[in-house]
């Protein structure tokens, strides 16, 4: 049963990874990265149960807590053009094409 969950999660990661490669805009890639982070949390938990060592949930917790940081950093970067100042006056960087 845990093997089924692990298999489903690995397949889902592979599918989302394809979107990460294709993703025309950078947002698609960030969405793919964020989703893979969430799937990795599930995969870590399921793998821990598969091997009867569920104490490895600590790593999954690290991911669940820290995964939001990169997305928020990218939001900051695109909206204000800098990482520190919420009211940055400089224009944001040019939009990257694929």
């Amino acid at each position: 049963m845990f093997a089924a969950a692990v298999a489903a999660l690995v397949v889902a990661i592979a599918l989302v990874l394809v979107r990460g490669f294709l993703g025309p805009t950078v947002y698609d890639r960030v969405l793919a990265a964020n989703t893979i982070g969430t799937l990795a949390v599930g995969l870590m938990a399921a793998h821990g149960f598969l091997n009867d060592r569920p104490e490895f949930l600590d790593i999954a917790l690290v991911y669940a807590l820290l995964n939001v940081l990169s997305t928020l950093a990218i939001l900051k970067f695109f909206r204000f053009g800098s990482l520190g100042d919420p009211e940055g006056i400089e224009p944001p960087p040019t939009e990257p094409r694929r």
Binding site: E55, F56, D58, I59, L61, V62, L65, L66, V68, L69, L72, A73, L75, K76, S82, L83, G84, D85, P86, E87, E90
Partner: protein, 139 residues
Amino acid sequence: MMHREAIPRVVVKLLIPFLLLYALYVQFHGELGPGGGFQAGVIVATAVILYGLIFGLAEAKRIVPPRLIEVLVPLGVVIYAGVGFAGLLAGGNYLDYFVLDPDPVHGQERGIFWVEVGVLVTVSSTMTAIYYAFSGRGR
């Protein structure tokens, strides 16, 4: 400005105490499970960076002043090296923990504890310092 990013602000405010608490857990539970000073230091730095991202660099610098960071970066190494000198003073070799306590096993635990604290202090403050240095620069 308050309303433009209400949702990230509220959630980050909720999240940061848990991050710091979890860093403490990783630090002190590192003897039993995965984790230790380095990982805990990174998580602490992440909390500071998250705060700086959402509430602004100036606000983060008000709470964690760069002066303090500049003191903490070498302080961690000093703590680590100080454990070594404590071993020397207690009559053993450098970084010898067995002599730190009458009971050798307690001495080991004590030595590992302070060494991990040193790693935590240096790693967290270095990561924060790098973040400050990078994001404080104009282009």
